[in-house]
Structures are given as structure tokens and as C-alpha cells.
Amino acid sequence: MNPENNNNRVPAVLFILTVAFLLLAVCFSRRKWMESEPLKAIALVDPELVRPTTMRTSYAQLIRMQADLSDFDCYGCHEQKKAVTLRFDGSNNLVIPKEHSDIVMKHGQHGRNNNCFNCHDDQNLLLLQTRDGRQLKLENCPPLCGSCHGPTYRDWEAGAHGRTGGYWDKAAGELTRQICVDCHNPHSPKIPTRTPLPPPHPLHAAARAAGAEEH
């Protein structure tokens, strides 16, 4: 290459470089240069939804809380010593009296458990009764439930069925257990469905698979 050409072009190149660097310096100093967008804030979950409260508030809990027990005062309406007659309709379904209209009888398929006195004591409405003749206080339902649901009862006694909370280390504190009716409605014991909490929000979510919805 002709040194003449070389010498002529070098100043031009150096000039262009100076301009380029100065331009870069200016661009870099501006705050708006390649400013990244802040992440879209993800909605917080209501802390009430994650409190470890039980699904139901049972009679036993009401007693512990020293709350109003008037709902469970059977003889406030029923007459003492007077037998209660159950009424059935034409298809042998139990007819719920309007005073107990909040009860939906769904304990067992095909109406197998369609008799209040399978569990409640017909002689003393404040008690429960088992098939083998034991009488239990209303707040002590597990032996009654266990008299039919044996395997579940055994699991519950060991702590494997139902909720455990509090302290696993007995030396450090108390283990809290629940009884059957703290979760299961005794007349309609199947756990009801619920709305799930929101699904996860992956980072750079625009790249998420649309196909996953299909599963």
C-alpha cells in the first residue's frame, strides 16, 4: 500500500474515532439510554387466605373459645323426654324439618346414612351414640366417626390423618390436633371444592409455553 494513501487516511480515521467516542460518552451519560423497564408488580395474596384456621368451627372449638353455644342447646326447642319422629318422603329420603334447614344430608352415597339417630342419641339429643351402645359427648365425635371409619381413625390417632400444627417437638411445646368435625361437616362430610390461589408468575413470562394450558 502506498504510504501516501496511508498517511492521508489516518487523520480521517482518528477524527471519526474521536467523534464516535464522544458520541458514546454522551449517550452513556444520559439516564434514558437503554433504561430497563421496571418489572410489573405482581398482585399480593390476601394474608387472610393463608391463615392456618380450620375449615369449620366445631362445637368443641366453640367451647374452647367460650363462645355462644346457644345453637347447640337442643332442649331449648325440643321437649325433654319426648321422642323425636323422623319423617321420610315417598322415595325414602329424610325430610329435614324447616328448623334444621341448614343441614344437608349427604353422609354416604345412595342415602345409606339417612337416619339422624345413626349418630345422634334419640334418648338424649345432647349426646352421640355408637352402634355398639356407647354414648359420647357432642364435642367428642372421633370414636363415633371411627366406629365406621376404622382405618382413617387409626391414622388420625397416629397423626397421619387430618391436620397437625403447633410443635412437633413435645419438649418444646404443644402439638395441636383437630377432631373430625373441625374439617368435615358431619352431615355432608366430603371436603368442598374451593378456588385455588393464583398460579405462579415466571420471570420473563412472555416466553411461557402456551401449550401448557392444554394439559
Binding site: L17, P202, H204, A209
Partner: protein, 424 residues
């Protein structure tokens, strides 16, 4: 002793000075690279300030282009030393001086690797935790700890060999064989080890079936020895053009035969892998499916990998045919090799390992602009380093920059012993 240090400092000073001297093509090239270095540095500063959220990575795909480039460049660094084998093992004199160019490329590549790993760290300020003795070094259990050792060792090894050979040439002395030949042979073994250790980083993860396969190691080496010498073939031609350093076509063709054999092995191993993944129909092929044909409607990598495969196959055919003995076709073939292997080893290895996640979720990855600028910046930095190394090395090898003309005016330097002047 003092004289020795003084001499060395003068040598370094002259080398440094010469890096700033050149013609308009040199200034344009260095200026162009500097611009990208600055853009990359700016992008990294942004990443340092805001965190890795500015990249496209997420918990689902937690390694991206940084590690992809790292993997590719470790291969280049390993292969750059491959020229050592013909020269020192087979006494091929054509390549003798070119070994230094290969080792300088290895140094530049290792510097790029270290840069890529550093920019990928979430807390680079805690790098001292990696220093054995000072921090907690999980050697030998963690393959990353092996990688730290072998990469830094390889860097020192190559710096020593090149530095010693160039300094000896600068003084017009014959280098003492015991001071560099053993290191050269160590470097051959070490080159294989750096790439095997990098492969084992992936192979050792049982939870990622795409990587947990014995073929990853051999494939790494085969692809490295394809892309590395291909890069050197191109680099040597550039050196030949911009300086008047003599490089014979025969040297280039020797390198071509390395690329040829390696590419054949690479394609064979690819065929092995594809057969193993798809023939038996077992359930672990999700990642391969994602890569080659797409999975559940997600197929971002499919065009990339098929481009890579086509490039590799075309390059293989060209390499086998005598047409690639002509430089123009050889150059095209080298470009095809480099791009094909970069895709296959970078994006085609790292990303599918994360898709689907171990729990079956699919979240694709796309590098952000910031991430891409950091990558360009590091590549520019590496090329800058290599250019500077060559700018120093070529005059030394030609005898034009030597101890004898220290302090002398004029450019016509006495020719160093054993070196004939060449016309380009």
C-alpha cells in the same frame, strides 16, 4: 538481576508502544472493537447495578448465552494449541512459528472465557470465595472448581510459552529447550483436559438427561478441534494480508486436514447422539425433541439447530472434496464450521438442557439486548487482545522489533539470526 528486570520492562514498554502504532486499517479495526467494548462495558455496568434480571435468564433457563459462549471459547482455547502437536510431535517445520499465533489465540480465548464466567456470576464481588486457601474451594467434588484450576493454569502455561519464546526471539537468543519444550507437551495434555473438564460440568448432572450422556465429552473435543483450527486458518490469512509475515499455503492445508478429520468425527458423533435419543422412544428425549422438532408448540431453537446441521454437513462435504484446497472455498468452509459449531455447542447444548425443566415446564429463552451487548463487548475485547498480541508478536518474529534496535533510529533493523527477510 536489575539489568534483567530493566531489560524486560523496556521490552514490555516497546511492545506496549507498538500497540498504538499502525495504519488506517489498524486504527479502524481497533476503533471498531473499542466501540463494542465500551458498549459491552456499559451493558455490564447496567447488569451489575440491576442484577441478572436485565438478561433473558430465569429460574427455568438459568444459563444462557454467557455460558454458551464460554463453552464454545474453551473449545477454541483448547484447539488453538492443537498446532503444537504437528510441530513438536511430528516435527512439521511449516507450522513452527505459527504455534505462537495459535497459543496467543488460546490466551485471548481464555481471557474471554474468564470474562464470560465473571459476567454470569450473581455476586462477582465474592469471587475471592473461590480462591483456594482464602475461600472455600470445593475441590475435587465440584467440576467448577476443576474448571477454575485448569483454565487459569492453561492461561499461565500459554503466557509462559509465548512470552518466553517471544522474549528470546527479541533478544536474538535461541530459547532454552528445557524451559519451554516440557511446557509445550504439558500444554497438549492440558488442552484436552480443559475441554474435558468443561464437558464434565454438564455430564455430571444426573438431573438433566440431555447432558448426562457419555458422548458429550468426545463431541466437545471433536467440535473444538474443528472450530479452533478453522478460526486459526482465517486468522493466519488475515495476518498474511496485513503484515508481510510469511505463511505458506502448506501450513494452511495442514490445518485444513485437522479440521477435516475433526468435522468427520463430529458429524459421526452427532449421528450417534440422534440415533440414541430417538430410536428407543424412551421418555427422556424431551429436550432433544425440543431442540430438533419442537415440544408442545414451542420451537424457537429448531431453525437454529437445523441451520447448524446444514452448515456442518456442507462443510464436511467441502472438506472432503479437493475443492476446499483452494483458499476461497476453504475460507467459506471455515466460516461454515465456525458458525455451525458455535450454534451447536452454544445454544444447541446449553439451552435445551433447561427445556423442559426437571418438573416438565417449558419456558423458552431469548437473550435480552443488554445481554447481547455484553457478549459482543467480550468478543470485541478478546479480538482486541488478540490483535494487540499479534501486533507485538509479528514484528518480533520478523526480527524487526528486537533488542538490537533498541534506541536506534530508522526502521531497517538488522535481521535476527536464522530469519530470512521475506517479501509478501
Amino acid at each position: 538481576m536489575i539489568g534483567g528486570i530493566r531489560n524486560y520492562l523496556v521490552f514490555l514498554g516497546r511492545c506496549g508502544r507498538i500497540a498504538f502504532v499502525g495504519d488506517w486499517r489498524y486504527y479502524s479495526w481497533m476503533g471498531f472493537l473499542s466501540v463494542f467494548c465500551l458498549l459491552g462495558l456499559n451493558a455490564y455496568a447496567r447488569q451489575f447495578a440491576h442484577g441478572l434480571v436485565v438478561t433473558g435468564m430465569s429460574d427455568e433457563v438459568s444459563w444462557g448465552v454467557y455460558i454458551a459462549n464460554f463453552t464454545f471459547l474453551v473449545g477454541v482455547a483448547a484447539a488453538a494449541v492443537m498446532m503444537v502437536i504437528p510441530v513438536y510431535v511430528y516435527n512439521n517445520e511449516d507450522l513452527h512459528d505459527l504455534v505462537i499465533f495459535g497459543e496467543l489465540l488460546a490466551v485471548a480465548a481464555i481471557l474471554m472465557c474468564l470474562a464470560f464466567v465473571t459476567v454470569d456470576l450473581g455476586r462477582p464481588d465474592r469471587f475471592w470465595h473461590l480462591i483456594p486457601g482464602l475461600g472455600q474451594f470445593n475441590f475435587p467434588a465440584s467440576m467448577l472448581s476443576w474448571d477454575v484450576l485448569v483454565l487459569n493454569g492453561y492461561l499461565l502455561l500459554n503466557l509462559h510459552i509465548c512470552g518466553y519464546l517471544l522474549y528470546s526471539r527479541y533478544h536474538g537468543r535461541k530459547p532454552a529447550k528445557w524451559f519451554y519444550i516440557p511446557f509445550v507437551f504439558v500444554a497438549i495434555v492440558w488442552a484436552v483436559s480443559i475441554h474435558t473438564v468443561t464437558a464434565f460440568l454438564y455430564v455430571g448432572l444426573g438431573g438433566r438427561p440431555f447432558w448426562n450422556s457419555a458422548i458429550v465429552g468426545p463431541r466437545f473435543l471433536a467440535s473444538a478441534f474443528t472450530a479452533g483450527p478453522a478460526l486459526i486458518i482465517l486468522a493466519l490469512q488475515i495476518i498474511r494480508r496485513v503484515t508481510n509475515y510469511r505463511i505458506t499455503d502448506r501450513a494452511l492445508l495442514t490445518l485444513r486436514s485437522i479440521v477435516q478429520v475433526s468435522m468427520l468425527i463430529n458429524v459421526f458423533l452427532l449421528a450417534n447422539e440422534v440415533f440414541k435419543e430417538f430410536y428407543s422412544g424412551n421418555l427422556h428425549v424431551a429436550s432433544s425433541k425440543y431442540l430438533y422438532v419442537g415440544l408442545h408448540g414451542r420451537h424457537a431453537l429448531v431453525p437454529w439447530i437445523w441451520t447448524a446441521i446444514q452448515f456442518n454437513l456442507l462443510a464436511m462435504v467441502l472438506l472432503v472434496l479437493p475443492v476446499s484446497r483452494s483458499l476461497r472455498w476453504l475460507n467459506l468452509t471455515c466460516v461454515l464450521c465456525i458458525i455451525g459449531i458455535w450454534i451447536e455447542k452454544g445454544m444447541g447444548l446449553v439451552i435445551p438442557g433447561f427445556i423442559p425443566t426437571p418438573l416438565g415446564d417449558i419456558l423458552e429463552y431469548r437473550p435480552s439486548l443488554n445481554e447481547t451487548l455484553v457478549c459482543f463487548g467480550i468478543w470485541a475485547f478478546g479480538l482486541l487482545c488478540y490483535t494487540v498480541f499479534l501486533r507485538m508478536a509479528v514484528p518480533i518474529l520478523q526480527g524487526r522489533l528486537c533488542k538490537a534496535n533498541e534506541g536506534e533510529a530508522g526502521w531497517r533493523a538488522p535481521v535476527a539470526s536464522g530469519e530470512a527477510p521475506f517479501n509478501s
